[in-house]
Symmetry: C5
Subunit: 354 residues, 5 copies
């Protein structure tokens, strides 16, 4: 995804600002626009096919939540943008899935963009960009995928669980962010388990494959770090905005959410430190193994090279060679060999090589 | 504990905020609720079985300190929360033992959460989450374990030692935190002793086991660092809160406590630097040993390989081989061998290899 | 370019301040001065040959954009400076292509200087200094090269695409900066592709050439970092200036541009971290290969050195040598050799060296 | 000292705050209390035996400086504390020699604590804790040792050298701190000389002993760093306190002192960087030596192993062995040996191994 | 110089503050005091022999610039200090050439101290301390050497080039600093050239001498860094002082100068990063060469050790040794040798060792 998105990003060079172009993979087959109107008393959910008809229904005395899945259909995107009076730059940013998490104040509404992270054992960490517009009595959310991460919230609205029906649009946005941060916890936990596994491998049996895994995990932690760090600013910024869009009641929840993002960040930083340590341990393990290998070679060579020389000496063909004729020459040779070996082994033991 | 807590944390995904779920190990067998009411003149301590009866006793003109041990019984937890009018988010945070140390201002009360650390020679550093709620005339503390770390304070209250009976609820909270920081000193000292031991081993005789110990100590210091750093902010924040809950008299003590946490932090940072140094020294020790091993191999090989060649030469079977027939050939061979060896040894000594 | 520029820089030592001297390569053959006057209704473009005549034409009720290509002709430069009332220090800075990106407020106008980056597959990252002066109803831009990076903006002005004709001189400056940042994206993407390629090489087959490439990429990323970091401050500063030169309507666009520079910076930082990781992986790869080489040597030597000794023993010429005469001596010798080898191989397999 | 102090520190766990306990070694044999009263006209010095009598003498229109040597006698300490109305926490901190340098404002007086450093060629850096209380017309200083570091100041007071008799208690405190910082300079210089020596050794002849020295120096620099860093804050804080205890005239001197602490800090940081560099140079020196050793081994082995094989070939006992019978076989063998050796040496020279 | 200065610094321990002592080498043979009085209309230059006479001449309606070369004559120094009413601490700081660059506000005048750097190809970076006192209508500068770095400014004053005669004493100080920063550029460029040279050597042919050069350059860059960093603060502080001594007209020039110091700093930081990279590349080069050496050894040994064993086998003297008697035994032996070698070489090529 990343490479494709990047290739397209430079394709915008020279275009006038505010021109929406979809940057990123086309992840959703079909564009789907779903609207939920709710207040404390009633809930109404419907799929919108025709923008002019669907969003023209007057707003009830509550909150309207519109969710758009699939960002490649620029006409629908612009239509939704016009229906809620969004600035062209906002629509452009929504279409560009290469955004850094941020919150922007447009007086009448706040534009919030962040990354939804998921973890699949085979595929590793996956990322989806989610944009949310928070107005006084409406929330518009934009997703890349059909993955239904916001389903629990729809259920809670329908079944009127918790505070969500009592509080306004700001609490809905808080709930969306809360789900996202919960997924961050899940991703962090999954990586933590992988780190635990590799950590044991590095201490027990380091090999180049472990190094490659360490490298991959460090890379994923780096991307996680880059996603969480600005998210913290987003949540922190949301709590501090005095645009009147965030009420005091929701403020407590956002402060709580902020603590959660800090917790995720903390975990990510701990894992990053641990991975950095692991890389060092791996290298020291490699050095230790080299040492062991070299000791074996040195012990073998130091014992046998002098003996081989001695055997070579008594293999010489000199005519005048007194020892050759001695009766005890051969047993004496072996005696010397055994003595030398024993002395060497004692020396090695003293140097703690054995 | 850590792994279990993490696994449960992601189990909360999608639940409405304010739903208390116990995250962490069940460390206490039995839930125990103990209440102490005291003022300058009298002290009264009792165990509370029935929340409605036990906490319904009207407050005296002093401080009521309620301590709950065991967080897995959510009904008791919610009951205590209701009795003191705590926000649902606070109750949720108390039940979740995965918190980062923090202090939160809820106008009528402050919610403080931190880690109690203990050190066991066999088990290493252990951690327990303690939550404290500071109200105008009450303090509620929540512990995971039955470990009675707050016993000295109860004793001091009963025996009226020190200022504790004269000052209010803020001084009680200060006293609780003071005990916690004292335990941090003990943990730091214990780690310092271990570091001293390993430090000598690394200089004298580095082996892979020392590296594993270094790794373990670095990990424990990292967790200590992560516990102390936010605690400093908690204590610092407590001193700066202008909610009227912390009096000026207690302020001096909190400033003193703040200095203590900075001292602990300082010690932890020093140890972290020392461990980082030790890891480098270990690696340089490994390199030095490799050098020594290779020098031995090279000296042996450089002396004997040429001599073995020479012995091989005079072991050849050429028909026309003048030296073979010489009378002094064999003694001359040994002369050459000895001379070569001496020259080599002199050269090695000059290069400072010997 | 760099070396030449630096050599000239020290040549200014001792000259009075405000003396313009062209520092840098002469990149343009010919000095070219192009002026565009536009407002919402009409556009007029012309090349200026004689400064006194060309710039004396009275300004229309719109924006005058003057672009100078080629900075080595100091007379023209000073002429343009005088025509728009620029401070001598500004003219000196424009001529000196060794500037750090910055924005300076001279009350009547803002002086902005930054680096235009380009990427050529063969030549790597190229850099050109662009200076822009933003006045109330004029913009003067200064380029080193004839490379026509601002052509899309001229086209947009002529064809009246987007907002550019409706908004003032500040929007024109924003558009110039926007093009520059778009080029930064392109350069970052190109480097990202190179990093992807080298990253695979390092894991598959590390050799000294890969290290040299890593070194080159780190150097280019360092220069990119040094160009982007102050650019962020420039764009941020532009958004905050309250000199009345930047209108609120343009403010939203500049905030958007600021986000883009942060995105570029983020990408550069990620790449820098990845390169640092790669260097480590390269080194660990080299260590691993050394380990492999040494294992092969040790296995061969450990097996054959004892056997060679044995062969040497039975090559000795002792007169009294019982085994020599045995009938099964020779087959027995081979038996011992094969047994030793098998035992060794089993030992090596157990130590996981094979 | 460090280990002893730490062991005692945790012994305070659970004690009420404000309980003075002497933490640290008992460095002074005898407690000595010396008082100097001075103003511009006269000086009076005496040793105080009985606190009630000694300090009961009314204060003259000048400054009273009381110096206590030896902190293990808690009664005397508390007596002095009571005589000057010090807060129990201050007395507790004075007795605990494990303090971090700090300045604390108690409205009527400032409590300042810092480390006095000394350097002995044999023993390395020694440390003593000095506490100073600055009141409007009194100064109380507390030392651990009988080492008479403040003697020059007593001399200056008696001989009325410099400004010390003209200015108040704040100038006296400044003078005490000035002497301390001067000692820091001396310690830094001594370490600098040691670093110079080890620096030459590392470049000339690195061996494991140099690494141990580097390690020791890094540790001492780390402790120096930890002592100087907060001292800077102490001096800086003293200059900024607006408690009316520090006059403007003394302010200039304190600013000057602040510059001195920054200079010491700078020197310490430079030395730390240099030591870090030295450790790298040491490691690269070890690697270089390994390279040299391996080259020698490889050259010897590469020349002689093939020749030994050749000698082995002509030592074989095949019946049908044509070369054996040739008349020029043996000289030809030597010719081949010499030619091979020359070719090898030329190759090695080309690869720059020789 | 450094060592000498440091030794003397600790010699001041215990002296009253404000006692000027010359710390540093005696670099100038003769003390020289030169005064220039100038205003827009006329210039007057003279050497002052007798302080009482020379500086007693009343000041004209312009600027008096007094320059003192040689700081070891404390009487002259004190005389100049008294003539301009300087604080004793200022005179002490001027005499001590061990200062950190700083600017200090003494209400009537500013005291500025910084380092003048020069570069000599043989001697490396040299450093001289320059102190400047900026009063309303006078400037006093203090130099250690007779090196005439300020000559261009004297020339400019005499020939009335640039603004220097029109603006006041603050512009003169700016001009002095400007010359200093220009010299910094020259030093940085010279180091940059050296780095370029060593950079090529490291990639082409790393040897211990390159490591020593890298070490030397890193040390010089460290000292440069330590000189430039506070200089930036000095220039920045000068621009922000609201003592009325720096006029708005000069303010623009000082802001420009500030940018120059930032540019120097940037260059120094880039060079520091490059040197750090170079050290890594050097180490990886050493590792690579070790790898190459070991591969050669392993290839030679792996081919010849088994062959030597085989030759040893057929050199054995067993009575019952069938192969010995075979007619094709000897050619077959060679066949086996050649085949083994070819197989080995193919294997090595496959493993990319050749």
């Amino acid at each position: 995804m990343c490479a494709a998105a990047r290739l397209k990003r430079s394709g915008k060079t020279g275009l006038p600002p505010g021109t929406p172009i979809h940057i990123g993979e086309r992840k959703a087959d079909q564009v789907q626009l779903r609207a939920i109107d709710y207040n404390e008393d009633r809930v109404e959910e419907r799929f919108v096919d025709d923008l002019n008809v669907g969003l023209a229904v007057p707003l009830p005395s509550g909150v309207r939540w519109v969710n758009l899945t699939g960002l490649h259909d620029l006409d629908t995107l612009k239509g939704v943008g016009d229906a809620f009076g969004l600035h062209p730059l906002v629509v452009e940013d929504i279409a560009n899935t290469d955004q850094r998490p941020k919150v922007e104040d447009y007086e009448d509404y706040l534009y919030i963009v962040f990354k939804m992270l998921t973890y699949e054992p085979r595929a590793g960490v996956g990322s989806e960009q989610v944009s949310v517009v928070l107005g006084r009595n409406f929330v518009v959310s934009f997703q890349e995928w059909e993955s239904d991460v916001f389903k629990p919230i729809r259920e809670r609205i329908k079944s009127s669980k918790g505070l969500i029906r009592k509080l306004g649009s700001d609490f809905l946005v808080y709930s969306l962010l809360d789900i996202v941060v919960d997924h961050y916890f899940a991703v962090t936990e999954a990586l933590g388990d992988e780190i635990e596994t590799i950590s044991e491998k590095v201490l027990a049996n380091p090999n180049p494959a472990t190094m490659a895994t360490i490298h991959r995990l460090r890379r994923e932690l780096m991307f996680l770090h880059r996603a969480v760090w600005p998210l913290r600013e987003v949540v922190g910024g949301l709590g501090k905005k005095d645009s009147g869009l965030v009420t005091e009641a929701t403020g407590y929840y956002i402060r709580d959410l902020y603590d959660h993002t800090v917790q995720v960040m903390d975990a990510v930083e701990i894992y990053r430190e641990m991975m950095s340590d692991l890389a060092d341990i791996y290298l020291s393990g490699v050095s230790n193994r080299l040492n062991t290998v070299m000791k074996v070679l040195t012990i073998i060579a130091t014992i046998f090279i002098p003996l081989t020389f001695l055997a070579g000496v008594y293999g010489m063909n000199f005519k005048f060679f007194p020892e050759i004729g001695w009766q005890w020459g051969y047993p004496f040779f072996w005696l010397v060999c055994i003595l030398t070996t024993v002395v060497m082994l004692v020396l090695f033991r003293r140097k703690k090589w054995l």
